[in-house]
């Protein structure tokens, strides 16, 4: 777009940096998780995420983004950067693709595979005790709360709470790995 053109005037001004910082803080974990699931190692994942945020900000600043879709847009951008690099080509997480709300580019096979993984985890969770499920679910329903607070609210010690999370997670992990 040409600087100062009438088209650019119709575009909203860039967001203040402080707001972008807040957006990054809010969505950074989801971006890193998506990259981890694609087999990207932590330090490289942080670099890709930073590059993706930077590219997104520049696009927004120049009015090339009529809508801001987060964290989907930054995940897609980071994944594109990662594919260009070619380090983990072909290792896109089927689950991540299958669960995309809008991106229907994933093949039916990929989506079906993702759904199967989801059902395996669900079955394994159903086999846990109701109390274990309650504790485990609480950690996902209130991710903003520290584990100590959750444990106190649910009437268990912090140690017991953590142990239960580990046990449930181990069962789910086994179920997912057995399916693969």
């Amino acid at each position: 777009m040409i600087e100062g053109s009438p088209l650019q005037e119709a575009v909203s001004p860039p967001a203040p940096d402080a707001d972008w910082d807040a957006l990054i803080r809010t969505h950074e974990r989801a971006v890193l998780l998506a990259l981890f699931a694609r087999g990207v190692r932590p330090t490289r994942a942080r670099e890709l995420a930073a590059d993706a945020w930077s590219g997104l900000y520049e696009s927004w600043r120049h009015g090339r983004l009529p809508v801001l879709e987060l964290p989907g847009l930054v995940i897609a951008h980071a994944a594109l950067l990662e594919r260009r690099e070619g380090r983990t080509a072909g290792r896109a997480a089927p689950l991540e693709q299958a669960l995309q709300a809008v991106d229907l580019s994933a093949s039916p096979e990929r989506r079906a595979e993702g759904r199967q993984q989801l059902r395996r985890v669900e079955e394994a969770l159903d086999h846990c005790s109701p109390r274990a499920r309650e504790l485990f679910a609480a950690s996902y329903q209130h991710p903003e709360l520290p584990q100590a607070v959750l444990a106190r609210r649910l009437g268990v010690s912090l140690q017991r709470f953590r142990q239960t999370l580990c046990e449930v997670r181990a069962r789910l992990r086994t179920a997912l790995e057995d399916g693969e």
Partner: protein
């Protein structure tokens, strides 16, 4: 740090809990731990999707909050104030909608089955409006005097 990550540390890493910088350098250079982190990330995505599905009826990642083109720049305050996602129609809502439609059909057919009114009697009238599963029936039956154009019957 040379020891491999424990299961608990793996879960902390993918969930962003604890001091990640302690383990990330090790995962960067350890193929075994990197593979474990990848598996753990798959598990985390699955669990998050599962609870999302139980909460709002869809496992789709709520990645996209589409803003209209004339929307203001999403400051963090405006972002928090965005309306919630539209509720996903549940099977109960669909059943209520279907029930309303059937009832409306029956009520529409009933007047046609009723005997023809004789001259001089009042005509029952019924109106039915169905909106989003809620059924509103308005019926007026009885002595309805229709005023004449001249103001006198």
């Amino acid at each position: 740090m040379s020891a491999h990550l424990s299961a608990e540390q793996l879960s902390w890493l993918v969930r962003g809990e604890g001091d990640l910088t302690r383990w990330e350098p090790h995962v960067d250079v350890c193929a075994e731990c990197a593979a474990a982190v990848e598996r753990e990330a798959h598990l985390e995505l699955a669990v998050q999707a599962l609870f999302r599905e139980q909460r709002c009826g869809t496992s789709a990642i709520p990645h996209f909050k589409v803003l209209p083109e004339d929307a203001p720049v999403p400051t963090s305050r405006a972002w928090r104030a965005l309306p919630e996602e539209a509720p996903v129609p549940t099977s109960r809502a669909w059943r209520a909608l279907a029930g309303g439609a059937v009832l409306a059909l029956v009520l529409a057919v009933l007047p046609a089955m009723a005997p023809e009114p004789t001259a001089g009697t009042d005509v029952p009238c019924a109106g039915v409006a169905v909106d989003g599963g809620a059924l509103l029936m308005m019926a007026a039956v009885g002595d309805v005097e229709t005023p004449s154009a001249h103001g006198t019957p």
